[in-house]
Structures are given as structure tokens and as C-alpha cells.
């Protein structure tokens, strides 16, 4: 922003604009996953029995544990934003660190889950899967694509939140200007919302 000579430099921050920009980005994420949900719906309608059989081979307990992990991480994220806005920096750091740890826990669970499935010979284009009916091939193709894409979003979220943690520690994000953290929180919550839909589609619909 240009200033008149002699006046102190004013940094213009548009809070509403920053939030709107983030929401517009989230809309593109909703459309991205929405397309995959559409694909899932169409193929499920075409191969109901194969999708049912595919779902029965997934570990429900792991899916449910990961849901609780992500829901709890959403809580700690919301608490981190509230703590920052109230000026409780130490509390905000703890809640943010907890969110990052829970993100890692989710990814570790996912690693073990995928490892077990790959160990059973179930992965895209595997000899075992090629012997299965077309519907099951599609089910596991969508399972790996959608949970994989979601996993990439969790990794991106963990990296973003780690940067936010540094910002909070260094006082770059404060109670006066917390929009960066709020926007990172919006992203993390959307990742949680996507998983809320993935749980019933893949793990519970059997």
C-alpha cells in the first residue's frame, strides 16, 4: 500500500479476503473429492455385490480408530485457534503439537493398514486382484486412489501445521493476526470432513 511521505507505513491486512480466498480453495478440494465420490457412487450402483465383498476385506477397527484420531485432531486444532485468539501462546503450541502428532498417528495407522492389504496381495494390478471380479478391482482401485489422495492431504496438512507451529512460537501468528492459523485450521478440518465420508463408503458399507 502506498503511503504519503512522512506518514508511518501501514500494512493493510484484509481478514475477510484472506478467509474468502481460503474457502475458494476449499471449494476446489470439495469438487476434487466430489468427483471421486461420484465415480464411487456410479460404480457401486453397477457392482453392488463386488463392492460389498471388497468392503468386507477391509479392517473396520483401523478405519474407526483413524476416524477417532482425526476427529480428536480437529478438536485440538479448534482449541489451538481459540487459544491463539485468546493470546494463550503456550496452550496454542501444545494443542498444535497434539494435532500434528495425531496427524502422524493417522498416517502410521494407514501405513500398517496398507501394508497388511498389500501383504495379502491386494493392490492395483496385482496378480491376486486381477483374478477377482471387475467390481472388486474397481473397489480396490478407488480405495487406494481415494484414501491415498486423502493421505497426501494429511501429509500436506501436517507440513502446513508444522509451519504454523513455528509461526506461533516466533510470534508471527498472534491474537492480533491469527488468520494464517485459522486458514490452516480450515484446511485440516476439511481433511477431517473428507474422511468422515470415506469411513462409511469403504469400511461400513459392507
Amino acid at each position: 500500500m502506498s503511503t504519503i511521505a512522512g506518514e508511518s507505513h501501514a500494512t493493510h491486512k484484509d481478514y475477510e479476503g484472506a478467509k474468502l480466498g481460503m474457502w475458494l480453495f476449499l471449494f476446489t478440494e470439495i469438487v476434487l473429492f466430489g468427483g471421486l465420490f461420484l465415480l464411487y457412487s456410479a460404480y457401486r450402483a453397477q457392482y453392488p455385490l463386488d463392492f460389498h465383498n471388497g468392503g468386507q476385506q477391509l479392517n473396520v477397527a483401523t478405519g474407526v480408530i483413524n476416524t477417532i484420531v482425526l476427529l480428536t485432531s480437529s478438536l485440538t486444532m479448534a482449541l489451538a485457534v481459540t487459544a491463539t485468539q485468546k493470546g494463550s501462546r503456550h496452550l496454542a503450541v501444545r494443542y498444535l503439537a497434539a494435532t500434528i502428532v495425531l496427524g502422524f498417528v493417522f498416517l502410521v495407522n494407514k501405513y500398517f493398514e496398507w501394508s497388511a492389504e498389500i501383504g495379502h496381495g491386494i493392490y492395483p494390478n496385482s496378480p491376486e486382484l486381477l483374478l477377482r471380479p471387475n467390481g472388486e478391482k474397481l473397489f480396490f482401485g478407488l480405495y487406494y486412489s481415494m484414501t491415498g489422495l486423502h493421505g497426501l492431504h494429511v501429509i500436506a496438512g501436517v507440513i502446513t501445521l508444522s509451519v504454523m507451529l513455528v509461526f506461533v512460537v516466533r510470534n508471527t501468528v498472534t491474537s492480533v493476526d491469527s488468520v494464517k492459523l485459522e486458514n490452516a485450521g480450515l484446511y485440516w478440518h476439511l481433511v477431517d470432513v473428507i474422511w468422515i465420508f470415506l469411513l462409511p463408503l469403504f469400511y461400513l458399507a459392507a
Binding site: A10, T11, Y15, S74, T82, I196
Partner: protein, 96 residues
């Protein structure tokens, strides 16, 4: 000097905890109903509880409750369009 045009609404910690408890309860309920293997009940539970859970996250955790009518409308239109697309897919599939 920094100038902010608007200040965010500060959500109460208690509200966040209550919302989290509701989300965990609804997850448990969804899992329980799906384990009854009653197809109609399971589908009904998935179609109601899952959007409700997402709605709670949008409304409270993502602070949509405290946002402007314009932003709320934008989110609503996006989600409504997606729902409409899914409905059209099923409309097409059911008449094949």
C-alpha cells in the same frame, strides 16, 4: 502498524469439546448400526448421520456459524450442486 478490517469470532472451548463428543458418539452409533447388518437401517443411518457429522465440523470447527450470509450461501451452493450431481447420477442409473 498493522490494520485488520475485521476480527474473528472466538469460539468457546467448551463448545468445541461438546461438538467433538457428539461427533464421537455419532461415529459409534454409525458403526453399531452398520454391524446390525440391517441394510435399510444402515443405509438410512449413513445418509443421515454422515452429513450431520460433516455439518457439525463445517458449522462449529470451521466457524461457518459465525461467518457472513454471503460465505454461508457460497458453501451451501457448492455442497448443494455436488448433492444434485450425485442425485442425477442415481437418477440416470436407476432408469437404465
Amino acid at each position: 502498524m498493522e490494520r485488520l478490517e475485521a476480527r474473528p469470532h472466538i469460539a468457546a472451548q467448551r463448545t468445541s469439546v461438546v461438538v467433538w463428543m457428539a461427533l464421537v458418539f455419532m461415529t459409534a452409533l454409525l458403526v453399531f448400526i452398520s454391524r446390525t447388518y440391517h441394510e435399510a437401517l444402515s443405509v438410512a443411518a449413513m445418509l443421515t448421520i454422515t452429513p450431520l457429522k460433516a455439518g457439525l465440523v463445517f458449522y462449529y470447527f470451521m466457524h461457518l456459524k459465525y461467518e457472513s450470509v454471503e460465505l454461508k450461501s457460497m458453501v451451501f451452493v457448492t455442497l448443494a450442486l455436488l448433492t444434485l450431481l450425485i442425485a442425477f447420477i442415481f437418477l440416470d442409473l436407476s432408469y437404465r
